[in-house]
């Protein structure tokens, strides 16, 4: 029993151990991989994924799913990118992106809660729509020539560490404490854990689900801005397929797709793993085309192992519960 408890407790820790192992093993083969510069680089490369994964975690905790993040990322990046290119202020550009993300998230949330559309279908449709709107808005052209000041945001550093990286990491930690410790923050996981129970204690389930989608949308928009700032241009295919990587990252980090279990820190570590595999392969001198196969295999292995371990513990607990009722029950009898 206590094993199960410690297991559930240390879900995130296991992911962290895995990440450390990844760095150690690759580091043994190629010591260059564990240099400070490379680790910082790894975090920088995964910023985008961390932000997306943190946002999607809210939705996943409530037991729903959000496939539309890639579309929101592309659309918000394109719209505020064009605004910036045409001389708009950075502050307003950020605001525009956030509004776009928030509104799309709101539509997702209302569709799921009011129209009772399965969140998978709702956000899948939204993904497609956001992409098309992006193409229409940009006339199918790439958004280039972003102002230098904007691009510099992603390059600037505080005390030698990437500024955005610091902000994102602090934000993730704050969000983590919000979700774990604050009264309202815990509602998200509670809804996914036991929806009837959530209703019973008076949690406005629908409202919090909408919040989750809005948060996920805003995070996707912020990720879009980071993307634009890091890459410097926005192609029409920006963010294509990223939603699947992000969901995989969150699952890898111990977030359950059935809701109720997981943390943003876990999801962020999962995101770092997903994006580090890429560079790890480079350092291992393995051709990059192995990337997707390895990520997929890893995801399947970890999730299946996880499910089997938990199920075994549950089965054992159930057995114990049944046998506790039996008169004069003795183990092994």
């Amino acid at each position: 029993m206590s094993r199960l408890i410690s297991l559930a407790k240390h879900r995130e820790i296991r992911t962290v151990i895995f990440l450390i192992l990844l760095f150690l093993i690759v580091g043994i083969v190629n010591p260059d991989f564990v240099t400070v510069a490379n680790i910082e680089n790894a975090v920088k490369n995964s910023l985008l994924y961390i932000v997306l994964a943190a946002g999607i975690t809210f939705v996943l905790l409530t037991g729903e799913i959000d496939i539309s993040v890639g579309g929101i990322l592309g659309l918000s990046a394109a719209v505020s990118g064009m605004f910036l290119r045409d001389g708009g202020s950075i502050f307003l550009a950020i605001l525009i992106a956030i509004v776009i993300g928030g509104v799309i998230g709101l539509i997702n949330g209302l569709g799921v809660t009011k129209l009772r559309i399965s969140s998978f279908i709702m956000t899948l449709g939204m993904l497609e729509i956001a992409r098309v709107v992006q193409v229409i808005y940009t006339n199918g052209k790439w958004v280039e020539n972003l102002p230098k000041t904007f691009k510099e945001i992603s390059q600037s550093s505080i005390l030698g560490i990437n500024t955005l990286g610091v902000i994102v990491i602090i934000a993730v930690i704050l969000i983590h404490f919000f979700l774990v410790n604050s009264r309202k923050g815990r509602y998200f996981a509670a809804i996914g854990d036991n929806q009837d129970g959530a209703v019973l204690i008076g949690i406005p389930v629908k409202r919090y689900k909408v919040f989750a989608f809005v948060i996920s949308g805003i995070c996707a928009a912020v990720a879009g801005l980071i993307f634009a700032s890091q890459i410097g241009f926005i192609s029409t295919t920006a963010g294509i397929g990223i939603e699947m990587t992000v969901i995989a990252a969150a699952v890898l980090g111990g977030v359950s797709l059935s809701g109720g279990i997981g943390s943003v820190i876990g999801a962020s570590v999962g995101a770092i793993i997903m994006s580090s595999i890429n560079s790890a392969l480079v350092f291992l001198k393995v051709p990059a085309f192995w990337n997707s196969a390895i990520s997929g295999l890893l995801l399947i292995l970890i999730v299946v192992a996880d499910v089997l371990i938990v199920r075994r513990a549950n089965k054992k607990a159930n057995k114990e519960r049944l046998n506790a009722r039996v008169l004069n029950y003795q183990e092994g009898a």
Binding site: A189, N194, G202, R325, V326
Partner: protein, 501 residues
């Protein structure tokens, strides 16, 4: 004593599910410092009434008044604000949270305060909890205790306890009763739902008896005797028509063949179970909820694993057979929870009925054959249906159950295990099902009847095995069957079994 304040008034509440009228105009009032026991059999409508009071369901008719305000647009959140809290029979904890998180979630107060209050309360109750345990690891009784603490922490004005003692030990029950006494003195109104009449006299100030969605008896507890309560629970004479016409016969066990022999069966939740079922016999399996009866049935049927022992059907060892094989060898099982394990709710009546028998056909589905089977059983069991193609969920509970019975009869089994066949079924359909059972018996089927309904098991079984805490030590023969004996055996106090208590 000053004037007692009226907390809640329910007026002529009606509620219908799937054409099944669960509440037929129930009125109820509760004042400060009252403990009202609500007593009723399965399907009497107790849980539904409470869910209406807590805003989970909306009443079709009738009104709710709390603290003198008539409420429209009532919902669980309002119920909470008004201080109405239900400790559900089925614990609704968050499995992936710790006990402490479960207790503190949804509170407007500071966590620290809540934690302190919780600790104090637990100490007061004399219960033992490690607050950092995850809810998933708690036993049902522990979950129930957590639920009770949750309700108490909320300073509820009206606390509803839905069969709270059903899985508590004696000591735990005693401490709960003390607590109820304290709360009563503090002015809390308590609605106490139970099956156990002794408890009613022990703790309540008022008693209300609910039967078939109606209040049949209501008043102060000191005006009642146990006998009166039982009278209130029993069906009216008019409804009782023909209830004693079920023909019982003690089979001549020297002559008849043994259909089923269970020898020293052990598994999770039971051990050393031995019993026999003869041809053309209804054998009851009695016991309290959670005694392990369903576990035994599921092990015989092949749903769960048998640790040791033997199950022999017609001389053939079927101990480790899987469901598919036990069905083929002639055992049929009607599961306890019809919605969870019995019906295919959004499928048609006919495909529900033929779900097993189509196995006997080759690869293709023969619609004519399905229609024939359905027609046959609809008339044989007098199932009331509109069209065969209607979804089964459009039927009443009794007719749904008949469809499930038809499904297993179409496989022509030798032994039918019925697990709580009349749960959630109205009185008329219930007596239909009893008739079916009696007919089946006459046709030579053997039936193993698992039931918590004392009256039911007493009325239709030829012999009764009583399961007590996973063991089977008592077999009541025809002449020994009566309510007292069954009850005593179920509590482990029947003659010869006292030493097990």
């Amino acid at each position: 004593m000053g004037e007692t304040k009226r907390l809640v008034k329910l007026d002529h509440i009606q509620k219908t599910f799937n054409q099944n009228k669960v509440l037929k105009g129930v009125s109820l009032e509760i004042n400060q410092s009252e403990v009202i026991s609500i007593i009723g059999g399965n399907g009497a409508g107790k849980s539904t009434l409470m869910k209406i009071l807590t805003g989970v369901y909306k009443a079709d008719e009738g009104s709710i008044e709390i603290n003198g305000d008539k409420l429209t647009n009532y919902n669980p959140s309002i119920a909470h604000d008004k201080g109405i809290y239900l400790v559900p029979q089925e614990p609704l904890l968050f499995p992936n949270m710790t006990i402490e998180q479960n207790l503190t979630i949804g509170f407007h107060k500071k966590k620290q305060e809540v934690r302190e209050a919780a600790k104090k309360l637990i100490e007061q109750l004399g219960w033992n909890f490690d607050l950092s345990r995850y809810a998933i690891s708690l036993s049902i009784a522990e979950q129930q205790q957590v639920e009770i603490i949750k309700g108490l922490l909320r300073d509820s004005k009206v606390l509803i306890l839905d069969e709270p003692t059903s899985s508590l030990t004696f000591a735990e029950t005693e401490s709960l009763f003390k607590l109820i006494e304290q709360l009563k003195n503090a002015g809390v109104g308590i609605i106490y739902i139970t099956h156990r009449l002794d408890e009613v006299f022990q703790i309540s100030t008022h008693a209300v008896i609910l039967r078939d969605g109606k209040v049949t008896l209501k008043g102060k507890i000191n005006e009642f005797t146990k006998e009166m309560l039982i009278q209130g629970l029993l069906p009216m004479d008019s409804e009782k028509d023909g209830s004693h016409s079920y023909e019982k016969c003690s089979v001549d066990r020297m002559k008849e063949e043994k259909i089923l022999r269970v020898q020293d069966l052990c598994g999770d939740g039971f051990k050393n179970i031995s019993f026999d079922v003869f041809k053309g016999e209804v054998v009851g399996v009695a016991g309290l909820l959670g005694a392990g009866r369903t576990e035994i049935a599921e092990a015989i049927y092949g749903i769960t694993q048998v640790k040791s022992g033997k199950v022999i059907l017609n001389g053939k060892d079927i101990t480790h057979f899987r469901v598919k094989e036990t069905i083929e060898s002639g055992i049929a099982y009607i599961p306890e929870d019809r919605f969870l394990n019995g019906i295919f709710s959004i499928s048609s009546i006919s495909s529900n009925m033929t779900a097993q028998v189509i196995k006997k056909q080759k690869y293709f589905i023969d619609k004519q054959f399905e229609k024939k089977i359905t027609d046959e059983y609809v008339s044989r069991l007098s199932i009331k249906i509109g069209s065969q193609d209607d979804e089964i969920r459009s039927l009443s509970g009794g007719n749904q159950q008949k469809v499930v019975i038809a499904r297993i009869l179409s496989m022509n089994p030798q032994l039918i295990i019925m697990d709580e066949p009349t749960r959630g079924i109205d009185a008329a359909a219930r007596s239909d099902i009893y008739n079916i059972i009696t007919q089946l018996k006459e046709q030579g089927y053997s039936i193993l009847l698992i039931s918590s309904d004392l009256e039911e098991i007493e009325r239709i079984s030829d012999r009764i095995y009583v399961i007590y805490r996973g063991t089977c030590n008592v077999c009541l023969d025809l002449e020994e069957i009566n309510a007292t004996n069954v009850m005593r055996a179920a509590f482990g106090t029947y003659k010869g079994s006292e030493n097990y208590v």
